[in-house]
Symmetry: C2
Subunit: 257 residues, 2 copies
Amino acid sequence: MFLGKIWNIYFLKLLFKQQNWLINYLCAMKVTAYSCDVQSCFLCTLCLPEWLPAINSNKQNRQYKKGEQLFEEGSEASGIYFLYKGVVKVHKRWGEDKQLILHFAKQGDMIGYRGLGNDRRYPVTATALENSIVCFVDIRFFEATLQVNHQLTYSLMQFYANELQAAELRMRNLAHMEVKGRIAEMLLMLQKNFGKNNEGSLNISLSRQDMASYCGTTYETFFRLINELTREGMIQISGKSIKIYLEDKLLALTTSK
Amino acid sequence: MFLGKIWNIYFLKLLFKQQNWLINYLCAMKVTAYSCDVQSCFLCTLCLPEWLPAINSNKQNRQYKKGEQLFEEGSEASGIYFLYKGVVKVHKRWGEDKQLILHFAKQGDMIGYRGLGNDRRYPVTATALENSIVCFVDIRFFEATLQVNHQLTYSLMQFYANELQAAELRMRNLAHMEVKGRIAEMLLMLQKNFGKNNEGSLNISLSRQDMASYCGTTYETFFRLINELTREGMIQISGKSIKIYLEDKLLALTTSK
DNA sequence: GCAAAAATATGATATACATCATGTTTTTAG
DNA sequence: CTAAAAACATGATGTATATCATATTTTTGC
């Protein structure tokens, strides 16, 4: 029955190859059915069972269309988001038309937690790259939750510790690794986080500009370097689908000397 | 009496202008007197008073000479350090002879907390830039402390959140800000964290290589650019002493467009 | 379904920064 | 106190990457 559903969509996709609106419409419908079950996210799994009803009555489900912003850099941090469906980019501005993308958030990811420092404003912007559904938790309620659920606080602390390590690793890479290596690293990250689909390509579709912004470079440089990677047989890229062929060679690009 | 001591050292400094060994020796002696009072650091102020005796019997005072390593990137994370006296750089390797300095730790700073993620190895190296004294707390005891002292856990979580924000800001700057701006930013950071001495220069002395490594650039580029900053009247630098003259102009260099 | 707007492709040119090379000064260690 | 090592200074040269310019293709909105 589930397979039937997939087949159904696949069939429609073939039928209306260019008319993606229908597919999107159908997917959006399916997606609407999803919602927080108050038992599987970072928040719910780490809280005392007695606290779950409180969560249940305080959470809000929200939907965002592709391109819509969840929140913007500099605005007051109103709460924390848990992504149920979709893909969201978390990014920081530089000047008028540049940005560094910090994270491509996927199903299950927490977003907005960077607003929990001393400065209660979001230090980043979050933008939906696909139609997305989130569970929103008000910041005050979240803080109350932390006061009550020590295990959650401890886990969140560890989560931050891991994020900090990752951020500082990327800092070093931005400072010293060449762009080609950073692209290789991003591709491996995407494979790790989003996996491959049945055709063996990365299970996510990003614009080249967004991929470039993740690597901290320009569209043009990114373009030239993925061409090189293609010529060297490490990857293949057509449209928005990317296949990784020589994982070890990519990995080699990410190490020094 | 305290003033007398300072005058004493100042007098000796004049007398033996080049013979710093004596001064250092005397200072080291003075320094040896310092040690944890179990009431002023991040750890002690946030713990329950009942827990302090436990800390007192578990902490270790350690000394490091200039140039000595506290711990090394990749080695097992054995504990957390609190810096009582001295300056310590926290840095990450790249290749044989490059590094990115993440932090110049000063009195009161916590070091080694990056080792508390899932991977229980230090992701960074810590090296003393001056003779330093630290209070060391074993990682297992620290974890037990976290389990007991929820306020400490919460504060540590917030601390990490702030560090993460700072790291991601620097990530963006490494990606998009030009080196001159990053130097300006470092100088302002040094002034904020280490203050000025009675002559108005930054109260810290770093090698140019280390400053360059903090900015994510080479010694040569750093050298040329501080010359520019000097020519433009923003700073003055002689030996290891740096004076900031035009704070607002430096600040302007750190913003886009 | 069509016009407008994004996204993509690609060459030509510019430049910020790294690398190399060499000499001097300062610091360190025995 | 002296030799060796580290830090510092500075020009010459090389290169990775950004910027600009322009044409094509794809996507989006009404």
